[in-house]
């Protein structure tokens, strides 16, 4: 994916401005930056989730595979089927574990029960959850632990086989062990699909990503190889942030 001159406003308030970034295919891009700098806003503009917030205006260009996702006649629903999203707070539906994962397939019109069952299993294995839930698929997804719920949400997003997966602080509400599982999962998915992950945890960014972008006050200050950004940042603001001088 690629963003050019991307600006997002909430009413009069500018949340991000002039963001240019390339999201490399099948790599993990981590986004870091202090609270309120516009990371979530940027992320939500990549799958047009901002469209669901009243009063938002987006200008600039975002391409998915060379196609403009803000182009005329583009249906945001179709964009979201190719660009999945996992939220900060896990939000499983009050349905069975199986139906949570099958949801995206069913709404896309898939009917064949055996194909759905197979895709559900594959997604759950992918999300490293299969062994924990394979005997309780008909039980409610709400009965799982917090970390399991978040992996269920990841499985749900993976089931529709998106090209890009957006993750907004997917582990920030979890304990260290559950967090480690999510990080392992992201590391495993690396190379299979494009991932953009927002995190407040710099070790996490360093661990899971190939590239890192630093947002500050609505601007993308710098983006580059993760090792470079953390060891030899080009910008003074980046250095101050990663060395803990503010934020």
């Amino acid at each position: 994916m690629r963003a050019r001159d991307l600006c997002v406003r909430y009413g009069q308030k500018v949340a991000i401005k002039d963001v240019d970034i390339d999201v490399h295919t099948n790599q993990v891009l981590a986004l870091i930056g202090p609270s309120g700098c516009g990371k979530s806003t940027f992320l939500r503009s990549l799958n047009r989730m901002n469209d669901t917030v009243p009063g938002v205006s987006v200008t600039g260009h975002v391409d998915l595979d060379g196609e403009p996702i803000y182009g005329p006649n583009v249906d945001p629903v179709l964009v979201r089927r190719r660009v999945g999203m996992v939220f900060q707070r896990s939000n499983p539906f009050p349905k069975s574990i199986f139906e949570n994962v099958a949801y995206g397939l069913r709404i896309a019109g898939m009917r064949e029960r055996d194909v759905i069952a197979e895709r559900v299993e594959r997604a759950l294995r992918h999300a490293a959850l299969w062994d924990e839930v394979k005997d309780r698929l008909p039980e409610s997804g709400l009965g799982l632990s917090g970390g399991q719920q978040q992996r269920l949400c990841i499985a749900r997003a993976l089931a529709v086989e998106p090209e890009v997966l957006l993750m907004d602080e997917p582990a920030s509400a979890l304990d260290p062990i559950a967090t480690a599982k999510i990080e392992d999962l992201v590391a495993d998915l690396r190379g299979e699909l494009t991932i953009v992950i927002v995190t407040h945890n710099m070790q996490q960014a360093a661990r899971v990503s190939q590239r890192t972008g630093f947002f500050y006050m609505g601007r993308l200050v710098e983006v580059g190889e993760t090792s470079q950004v953390f060891t030899r940042p080009r910008e003074r603001e980046t250095e101050d942030y990663i060395t803990g001088r503010f934020g």
Partner: protein
Amino acid sequence: MSAAAPPRRLVGTVRHGDRALQTVTLGSVVLILAMLVVLLGDVALGGARTLTWEFLTAAPRDGMTAGGVFPAIFGTVALTLLMTLAAVPAGVATAIYLTEFASTESRLARLIRVSVSNLAGVPSIVFGLFGLGFFIATVGKAIDGVAFGGQPTYGKPCLLWSSLTLAILTLPVVVVATEEAILAVPRELRDGSLALGATRMQTILRVVLPEAMGGILTGTILAVSRGAGEVAPILFTGVAYYLPYLPSHLNDPFMSLGYHVYVLATQSPDVDRTKPLLYGTALVLLILTFLLNLAAIWIRSRTRRHSRAAA
């Protein structure tokens, strides 16, 4: 500074106000409970002996001084079902429009909200007059003119117009209850659905409505049970004093429990002989309403448990 400092003592009390407030509030609770117990107790004791199988299954006899209330039960149930059939889809659809499609500043949405809350404040007898003027004298007459050559077929009081009049009366409660239930669905659930590529409609049908269903059902049943006992709206629009047959068509008049209570209490030639029947009828009406309320409580407790599992 010293003026504001608290007294340096531990013994004694500074909470006289608390105790007085507790006494007053507890007093009103007791008073209300006592009234409820007296009311229900009176009806239950007075009606219990009348409540036989024959009373429930037979029609009134001997100038309504004997027999049962089956036609009134039948009429009330039919009326309630038809009213529900009309009010619930319209009310739920209105609430969905208001919460999901209308923006908060939209003129139309504001107009609907104002109308709904004003509708809720209209006295029920006015609904009865409206039903007479609108449904019977206007819509019914027009139907007769077009389809029945002017023969009064729908242009007269009947089950259909009474049900629709009651439906309008219950509509505001259904709308408000549904709106609240829908608004209580967390935004995260909608976002989760939309982010998976669901359309707005799929999100509403598959995530929002199932999640809101408990609240919708509870509110709807309470509204319906309130409407089931109403007399004023059906007075001019279809209820009958006495009918030798059960209604079998939408344009038949019908008997109802609420109105039957009124008839027994005021129109009987022999008040002493109808008194047990009067109690029995009131008790049947109360039991029907109670059953509906019990259903609502049951549904609410089930959905509570369900959402506690979510936390």
